[in-house]
Symmetry: C2
Subunit: 269 residues, 2 copies
Amino acid sequence: MNAQQKIKNKTKKNLHICVGLDTDINKIPGFLLSMENPVLEFNKIIIENTKDIAAAYKINFAFYEKDGAEGFRNIEKTMELIPQDVLTIADAKRGDIGNTAKMYAESVFNYFNFDAVTVNPYMGYDSVEPFLEFTGKITFVLGLTSNKSADNFEMKKLDSGKFLYQEVLGKISEWNSARNCGVVFGATKLEQLSEDLKMMENLYALLPGVGAQGGSLSEIVKLFNSRKYNKFLINISRSLIYAGNSENFGEVTRKRLSGYNDIVSNILS
Amino acid sequence: MNAQQKIKNKTKKNLHICVGLDTDINKIPGFLLSMENPVLEFNKIIIENTKDIAAAYKINFAFYEKDGAEGFRNIEKTMELIPQDVLTIADAKRGDIGNTAKMYAESVFNYFNFDAVTVNPYMGYDSVEPFLEFTGKITFVLGLTSNKSADNFEMKKLDSGKFLYQEVLGKISEWNSARNCGVVFGATKLEQLSEDLKMMENLYALLPGVGAQGGSLSEIVKLFNSRKYNKFLINISRSLIYAGNSENFGEVTRKRLSGYNDIVSNILS
């Protein structure tokens, strides 16, 4: 099943929440620390408790890379735990010149076998193109991000009158002939999202920033629903995976995710 | 010895060439392929033959990540082969929101123990700041890159009249209070470099694009020399490490590097 089909199957069941596996050994329940591989054990319990109600899983590479090769091994092992019908996103934000970007694409799509990836647009088309060659995968390009310093460059006004991130949105649509492009848009930027959603008509949307960063789940869903646009995934990491802190943390996360799903479903139906 | 001192020690000997370890198993001499770890064996021979005349080594993460955990292990093992007095650059082009960027910084600076890193500015200051906290390391921020599609966004004109990459150059200088900032500037963009060098006065410069990509070594060095500016490193990857293709490839690379060093030295002295 390709990435596009996986998203379609979940969103038609009103499942839009992506579980962000930003697994930090300093934040996981203490009882796991005596185990051989606490990070993997944590991911396993989160996945077991959410795999039938999660729309996707997003693995934030940084949290694994800080442990070097062992961290990369944990990404591999985590991937084995995720059911084949659930979309997996490599949140790696890669970007480099063509021959190098090709290697990054091979890493996330061939080696790790992710369904989707996040990439950085700064260097332009030839840094994104090697990812787009994988037409059954989805490449989410950074548009407007959820962080404060998005003002520094993303929100700079060009001489055309557009903001830089709007120029990026336009280009992503041009690159989307195989219908495998997406955009990362911060859920904290509701006003801009409302304004720009029309530019994202044929793009998948990945929205981080709900929860710890302050974005509102229901406002985002209401906006997408009002435009009859359903190719969106809302990523929630910290406030979902760290919802509980004792032996039953998996069930607490499941309950929290289920609650989020209800909010989404109530708006969409 | 911190990164700043390492660069100073090399550049005062007129050593400015950074050896780019873009090691691709499909391009290394065939006789290595029967060995247990051909990539590491290749790096070992290149490093042994260049370590006293290289200004720095740059490890292009993509070429290792395509082999997953084993690739990361090869980065670790390669790092062990590089003498302590030679600068090491993690060419990873990372960039993410603050708490994630912190993990990337821990990965390259603490886990792998690199002296320097390349990062992507798109998301702004809070994606770069966690790297800058390491004041004895150098963070090279992408400015104007060597690839064709740099036109897409980096060369977009802002309403201020500046190009986006010039806005980035200005910001990097603002972030440079600990004198640990650098900029990546494509050696293929000589005209812009000439125009913008004054904005890079207190920044380290990392210049890729000489060789396979078409940048001219001597033109670049003449330009820096004419401005009496010596904090620059010129990266050469493919046309240096793949100079030879038989059992003596290490010596061929050494001879090639030595020739490049002579070109540099003749201009500077």
